[in-house]
């Protein structure tokens, strides 16, 4: 008997990584289909080729697309947008509170001073919060990761827009210093406010995943 779980994991890596809960179910489906073909009198080789054809080639592409589309689109609001926006609000509020209380957010000199260290340090908490809220709303692993990264995505989009508008205006006034200042900051702002925060948030989401798994195994063990 072929190891259908292993075959599904190998052929549908994306589904396995993003939506691991589907792997066993799809493997069970293939196993039933394979056995049905054997019971119809097909040889093991033909039955195997016929069954595996459901997760190979165009079928595989279609299957992955349908799963991702369904998971992303239908669960987008509940699993990603709402937890992600709450996480964004929490991260933004904290940054605003630091600024309002004149607390030194730029405490280390990296990337031209754009290194709000304390803000970064708490980003794993917000990342974990996003992932946790998404989990509570039934979000898949992909949705939980997306929810934790949404604040960085929003900030990245805003920064991109600001740069586009800034470059356009700089071009209009044709001022060399303005343009060079924007080119310089283009290399500083995205790492400090988008890429590094995204990594910190992802770290928090990862910790939340591991702790949820451990708690789950403890629950099932008791």
């Amino acid at each position: 008997m072929p190891d259908w779980k292993q075959i599904v994991r190998k052929n549908l890596r994306v589904v396995g990584v993003c939506l691991p809960e589907f792997t066993e179910e799809l493997a069970a489906h293939l196993e039933d289909g394979y056995e049905a073909l054997l019971s119809e009198g097909l040889s093991a080789e033909v039955a195997f080729q016929d069954t595996i054809g459901q997760i190979e080639g165009r079928c595989r592409v279609w299957l992955v697309m349908r799963f991702l589309q369904e998971e992303l689109m239908t669960g987008l609001i509940r699993g990603v947008a709402l937890p992600g926006l709450l996480t964004s609000a929490a991260a933004g509020f904290f940054y605003w509170a630091l600024a309002l209380n004149h607390l030194p957010s730029n405490v280390i000199w990296l990337a031209g001073g754009l290194s709000p260290l304390w803000w970064w340090c708490l980003l794993p908490v917000w990342g974990a919060l996003g992932a946790r809220l998404s989990r509570r709303k039934g979000g898949s692993r992909l949705q939980r990761i997306s929810a934790s990264l949404l604040p960085s995505a929003i900030l990245g989009t805003l920064i991109l827009l600001i740069f586009v508008v800034g470059f356009t205006l700089s071009g209009l006034v044709n001022h060399y210093q303005l343009v060079s200042a924007r080119v310089e900051s283009l290399g500083l702002v995205p790492p400090g406010f988008v890429l590094i925060p995204a990594a910190f948030s992802l770290l928090g989401a990862g910790i939340a995943e591991v702790s949820s798994k451990k708690l789950g195994s403890l629950d099932s063990g008791t």
């Binding site: 799809l26 069970a28 489906h29």
Partner: protein, 112 residues
């Protein structure tokens, strides 16, 4: 037109699955096979259509899925209809009846 077509497919598939599950709980493969058998092969589900739809129904709390160990020791994820899902069947049937009647009035199509 393509979107209408997709919606019709989606709606009809949901009604078929809910109706089937109203009789007894089934796992994914059984659902696909029973629908294929009962419709003489006209309606067929591939994995790409069936499982995302089942999980969508689960998210809507119309069905509930549970892993069960079969007598042969294998684990299967069985779907059963929830009270909320049962309530959906009558309105969905009414919508489809209205749809077929409307189609019939335009095309002379007979709703068997």
């Amino acid at each position: 037109m393509a979107s209408v077509n997709a919606q019709i497919k989606r709606g009809s598939a949901e009604l078929a699955v809910l109706t089937l599950l109203a009789e007894h709980p089934l796992h994914g493969y059984e659902i696909a096979k029973q629908i294929e058998a009962q419709t003489g092969g006209v309606l067929r589900f591939d994995m790409a259509s069936l499982y995302p739809m089942l999980h969508r129904l689960e998210r809507k709390s119309w069905v509930k899925a549970e892993w069960q160990t079969l007598p042969n020791g294998r684990r299967r994820r069985c779907y059963r209809l929830t009270p909320s899902g049962r309530k959906q069947i009558a309105p969905l049937r009414a919508q489809w009846r209205a749809f077929f009647q409307a189609l019939e009035s335009v095309t002379g199509f007979q709703n068997a």
